[in-house]
Symmetry: D2
Subunit: 338 residues, 4 copies
């Protein structure tokens, strides 16, 4: 249930709503907007309580039910766009924020070369995987702690924020030591233990859509992060599993206007994992920017042919630089910049 | 099998290849390119014949097998882009061709108002359905012959080419009397009798992708048209069926670079049927243009709320005009015009 | 809208309902049950007419709206199971009816050998394709008229009813000359022109589910047949397209209880097209019988390795005979016989 | 790579293969069959090593590459069926093992009533969720530790083994204290940290298929468990996500013969989560047994209408008892017992 307070109400009125909710066994989240305060009343059984329970309280302007399963990620709870701020970079504002780098951190030389080049070409955030969730236990699983150290080093040397994936709920602090943005991967979108721990960290989070999750399930997974009071959440569309077999995943470009319509959270697109092949990445990246995303997550490798993971989908440094030029024109055409 | 002739060969050499192929029971199609001639050797059993059978013939430069099931629609058969010309409008060239109009022709007033407005806003082709394939036999099935008459009238009055759907293989001539482009709908993409008859008509064809057809199946369906010697084929992506339930179909934007890579045929996108809701159409249309399509097929209705079919996905005349403005910027950003 | 007449009403009362419906521009279908008469009021705009319009008429017991898009195929219109009778074989009764034979009719020898063997093993209907809808125009398209002649010959020689596919709406009479059951293939499930013509023929029809059609769309397609007054309709589940790539189609066994719950039409399963591989056919056939189907459609070939179409999914004659034995046990375990 | 040792070889020969593999940086797993020993050579780069490297070693009979991504779960590594033994119950043998109980443990009374009834009806294992992974953070998340205590109590009172889900990689020991079989849920099928920890526990594991995971991905996930030397792995099919919307998930019955063909692991089916509605459960359960599964996982609740989780898909105690009777006939028809 969403309780909108009247403009200019004081602390007591808001507290009155909160106390009533807690007395009924519900959880509560506040959205302190610039000109109004919204209280979300949360719990499995809010449907059994009349809206009048809250509507009669002093200072309450309106009470409405959210029929969707997600509450905190919804526009009903927060109508203005959320902007996530990471080391001076704003995600969800006018700039289309490009996050780029290698799929996996492989060596200091590889990471530094990539970091320098993507920054030079205009990327605002460096990506790189230290813990790699791999389909087979016998594949390269990432450099792990060593990878985190290299990411921390690149961050400092090139003064660029870093995004990297966390896979173990008990590694959140460890990864947060090296990363500005914690990435929750597609396969972990409904790993609720991980979501809860990442939410508690209060760090900016990049939440990838599960490759077979509906948009509703994705936004409801975001609620696990938001429920811990962490509202630094960035959504990332990375392609869905369909019957089409000429590509690895079908980029669900339709999710862009749908998410923007129903949620206040910033949204970026990962064209590399969707495509699975470098030659398809530019078209998907351009489509995403034209559709209105707030950023892109792109795999770039100094030498894709020798990449340990996903080399086929990585752009070379020069292809990336050229793509950035092309994206600038598209961003401009939709009233943004890159 | 694809037989590339050497530059400058004469009629006899080409004929030699054709005769050898026919003697073996195969069909043959020629691609007379600007600087070379390619002969496609077609049939279910080409795999049982050695490439040497043709390689030894005079004037043959190379012989290669096409492993994909589609042959005539492939870049191997024809490397340069096909441009389809309809009433002075070129589809597959530099211009992004917008085809717009109502889902179904409902009345003279409705059609004429729509036709005037879409032409005014910059659409190059008028769309409108006379025969409507409907899921239920008890739904409005279109004005049929009467609808065709109205389309012919609009075409003449506004001097704009018309695209409309044909559903019965035995109605091809009837529909061709009123339409410049014959549309084969998604549900008929593998209606091979219809494809063969439409192919025989030698009219430009718009072949919609079946909503659960792979790109390979779609291009192979195009081969049914091309096999009849009709190379005026335009492909149309209109969304695929996935698990996502917030939209009607998921626009497969990935098909744009994939089709462009593997086929020479022009490709347009129908964002209206994918979205199923007018509010999502602009983002999808922009994404498609940025991804590199040759045109768009957009539903526009003077009064969407009273539309007999698919009103929810139709743009109003003014929303359409505004979208055209926005699309112009995107087209320019990717080196095209609208 | 479904109008249930009171028990024992006369012709005038029923006619009164029919006349009122027609006066309002609706179509009408009657279900003359053993102890009551049901009138379906059909049309795109029944939602705009109050149920009272009919409820007040003499002899009317109740009026209810069907919210599902299919009407005539629904249990609301006809609560008792439909039994289709073909040459003495009842489909939808206690017997599990097995239809078996080659995918395509290839020669007299092949067809006669298969027909004799499947009849001997207990099949009740002979299957065999004369017109084959093929993905590529360059694949074998069936023996066409010649194939029909062979089917007619086998039918007479072995005194077994025949099911074969019709693909051109204008070939219905031709095919009906050789076949007891007209098959509408999966790719033509929404070929509404074909459905209408097949419906008009009044012949028993086997309507395959489109491989990406929902059960609701399938039953609504059946309405096209039933709307022509043809109630000899058999549904056939043959697998749906999913992301799973180890088989050709995923047999949707869940459709068995769902169809039985919502529709009165008999339902059979084609395990051969779902599996795409002979080794998987027996398990699927057994699962279908245990789940409660009324029959099976199985591909059997005297020499699968040399089959022109789909040899990999065909059972040998001896494997088929063995499977029939195993199916008998399962049928018995669920209170049926084979 | 799979190294098959000759019959009757000694420890030294096997050790020679193991040492060579380790010297090359590979991992090794042994399958000590009744009449031969097989050594799996594992690692991301086995493709770069010639099979001769091992073929020349003494005692080696043959060396073959496994092209599939899963190795230890494959029939190539272990041709005979694996039988998992839990408290005297064998899963993968002749008996079809039914595991039944409530979706979530809600109270002592509810669990004890269910446990008594399912045992009485012939269930061999008691199921019940203590930790519930729920889509929304505001839904009931299970009784957690309290639920485990109740399960342990039921296990003792009714002398029946217990299966329950573990969701946090760091809770494995805790859950193993109360459960005989650790369940890894569908949403965690690719939670590799959890898989590794569960594998290390050496406890029998029930690995549910992710609802959008291919069979290949599922078997490769099993490799994470097997790689830790835990070969007590039971697979559980529970329905896949498709476009069909009349049920919650489409039971992929085709996975039964496919898994049996490619893997040695026992396989059970969960018809309750697939169906999402109690009325569909019996047909799916029967289909699964006829197709050849080794067991079933069925939700049963003393009072489904008041269930806190998934009541709609739970059978009543009496419906379950009746289903067990019907399943006995099917099991017998396929040469098994229940």
């Amino acid at each position: 249930m969403i309780v909108e307070m009247a403009k200019g109400v004081g602390v007591e009125e808001v507290d009155g709503v909160v106390q009533r909710a807690k007395a009924l066994g519900f959880q509560v989240q506040l959205n302190l907007g610039t000109d109004k305060i919204v209280v979300a009343i949360l719990g499995g059984h809010t449907g059994q309580v009349s809206t009048d329970t809250f509507a009669v309280l002093p200072g309450v302007e309106s009470v409405t039910r959210i029929m969707k399963p997600y509450k905190l990620a919804s526009r009903e709870f927060k109508s203005e766009n959320t902007v996530v701020s990471v080391g001076g970079v704003e995600i969800g504002g006018e700039r289309v924020v490009v996050m780029a780098g290698p799929c996996a951190v492989e060596s200091e030389a590889q990471l530094m070369e990539a970091a320098e080049a993507v920054k030079e070409a205009g990327a605002a955030v460096l990506r790189g995987g230290a813990f790699k969730p791999r389909t087979s236990p016998f594949s390269f699983q990432g450099l792990e702690e060593k990878g985190l150290e290299l990411l921390a080093k690149a961050r400092e040397r090139f003064q660029i924020p870093v995004v990297t994936e966390v896979v173990d709920p008990h590694d959140v602090d460890l990864v947060a030591g090296a990363a500005d943005i914690l990435q929750v991967g597609a396969r972990n979108m409904q790993n609720f233990t991980l979501l809860t721990n990442v939410g508690k960290s209060q760090r900016p989070v990049l939440l990838k859509r599960g490759f077979s999750s509906t948009i509703t399930e994705w936004l409801t997974a975001a609620d696990y992060l938001l429920a811990e009071g962490n509202n630094q959440v960035i959504l990332c569309e990375r392609g869905i599993r369909t019957f089409e077999d000429s590509i690895r995943f079908s980029l669900d470009v339709t999710s862009v206007p749908v998410v923007k319509k129903f949620s206040h959270l910033p949204l970026i697109v990962d064209p590399s994992h969707a495509a699975g092949h470098y030659s398809l990445v530019p078209a998907l990246a351009k489509a995403a920017v034209a559709a209105g995303v707030d950023g892109l997550l792109i795999e770039v490798h100094p030498n894709p042919k020798e990449a340990l993971v996903d080399g086929l989908q990585s752009l070379t440094l020069s292809d990336f630089a050229q793509l950035m030029e092309e994206l600038r024109s598209i961003a401009k055409a939709v009233g943004r910049y890159l």
